[in-house]
Amino acid sequence: MYTFSKKLKTFAFVLMLIGVAGIIYGFIKAPKDLAEVKANLIEQAHDGHGEHHVSAADHAVSDAHFDHHAEHVYGQLKNKPWTALYVGCIFVMLVSVGILVFHGINYAASAGWSPVLFRVMEGLSAYILPGSIIFFILLLLSVYGIGGNHLFIWADKDVVEADAIIKGKEGYLNAPFFIIRAIIFLGGWNLYRIYMRKQSLALDASGDLVYHKKMFKASAGFLAFFIVTESMASWDWIMSIDTHWYSTLFGWYVFASFFVTAITTIAFVTLYLKSKGYMDFVNTSHIHDLAKFMFGLSIFWTYLWFSQFMLQWYSNIPEEVTYFIFRIQEFNLPFFGMLVLNFVLPLLLLINTDFKRLTWIVVMAGVCIIIGHYIDFYLMIAPGTVGGSWFIGAAEIGSLLFFIGLFILVGFSEIAKAPLLAKNNPLIEESKHFHY
């Protein structure tokens, strides 16, 4: 039985405190009114283009343009702290959903290697409840534009009236339906997770295989429910930010991104618990299998990324390709840097069989994957909300740290509530002796 160590608890609280400080700093730093933005823009122009003199005539012509630009930047900067919060929140929440799905897949497939890791997955997926509550509140604030939060332009009545394309999507993209969908998605996932945990503990207590069968059936059903809801959720929560743009494989793409991060997280927590001596029944073959998933899914993610990119790049249709042109122009470093972090480094680090068993290699590749996929989520969301005024600074990192801290706190408290070995699972012996 694992006890949540004081050290780790303190670490989680420190992360959350730093995170809150970063988030608050982000909100304080956001401009209060248009005048402040204009002053900043003029200052920046003077700083950046000291040698470049604008004549008085030019100035008069560009005044109207300047006002328009300043208003635009003001909107982006007001969105910036909300974006920071939103990206961190949805990323960590979906990672815990990914852990739940991995548990579900292993259960529905009756996988023989993984039951020794089930308690880690069950524990970590406990974050879904608090995570989705916070996320749901954020969605409400965004859709109803509270606190200068305009992440979803389709939620703004004036924008919709002036835009024929968004107007055409109003039947699907409207606030009440959006909120109802979010309740169904998040509610469904939470119900499955609570049900599974209950059955799992009952199986442990009684050894009655009825519970195992119930979990097997629930998992199969959940996976079918999940792949539909996840796909729609990714349209709602991420793709609808770039309201004009669409991609038909977006659901898969988002799924690959958080799923590979979820498996990395499972590997990290397993390695941590093993190093503390709580999981001696986990051998290097289990780590090897997790690393294989990290490796394979990194390539799967790249395959989807490339499929999405290449088709739109090649066909060069204006309403599609602007999505990528904007990212390459304004987000060049993270856009290509994330490919190195999410594809090149995991590929080279994890391609060797023996390397997949070495803790430090798995940790190194895992750190690349987690940072890379955070940037991936940032790049899916921020270009549509903060545009060219983006910066990954205190607010963004703070938000990520806050949610990671909360994740550790909730996840490890739940892990500490039950024995780390699901001893009555019928496949547990096979899993213990799993050897590759």
């Binding site: 490339f306 990119f309 290449m310 790049w313 090649y314 066909s315 060069n316 391609i351 069989t353």
Partner: protein, 173 residues
């Protein structure tokens, strides 16, 4: 004496694996094992060196990637540049995303085919090659372990019977 070998025949792969371990422990020299299908973990139990075919695969892949890159560069940029989708083929790097699938496929093609050829050459397999199986049942449902005879013949037969062999033969080679 030294050119005599024992054929110990088994009808289960798990029994065979245990027998291999016992044989190794008794310091008999296993010359070869014939199985109808690949037995997982047999190479480790026999103490064979790990295969180096992965290194070959990687190198062949690099050759394929280089060939694919060169091929697309020659075809699309040098020899017959075209303007496809408003993207004139003037520079390799700007048109590269369109060539990635071909470069990838070339990598896989080279890696896979050359790996198979390497495997055939290393295992001395070629068309019209005579089968080396000492017993036809090893292509169906039996496993045959060929062991160099060490010491007394009767005690050796006794030993292999004990390891679970359904049949033990001594053959003059």
């Amino acid at each position: 004496m030294s050119n005599k070998v024992i054929y110990a025949i088994y009808n289960d792969d798990d029994v065979l694996l245990d027998a291999v371990k016992e044989t190794k422990a008794a310091e008999h020299h296993i010359e070869e094992i014939y199985t109808p299908f690949p037995v997982h973990g047999l190479d480790k139990a026999m103490g064979l060196k790990p295969t180096r075919i992965a290194i070959c695969a990687f190198l062949y892949g690099l050759v394929g990637l280089a060939f694919g890159t060169f091929m697309m560069y020659y075809i699309m940029i040098i020899d017959w540049p075209q303007d496809i989708g408003g993207k004139p083929s003037m520079s390799f790097i700007q048109n590269m995303p369109a060539f990635v699938p071909i470069m990838f496929e070339m990598t896989v093609l080279f890696s896979a085919h050359l790996m198979v050829l390497t495997f055939f050459m290393r295992s001395k397999l070629w068309p019209f090659k005579e089968a080396e199986n000492p017993d036809v049942r090893t292509t169906d449902d039996h496993f045959l372990m060929e062991v160099a005879l060490k010491g007394d013949e009767d005690s050796a037969i006794e030993f292999f019977k004990k390891t679970g062999a359904v049949e033990v033969k001594v053959i003059e080679k």
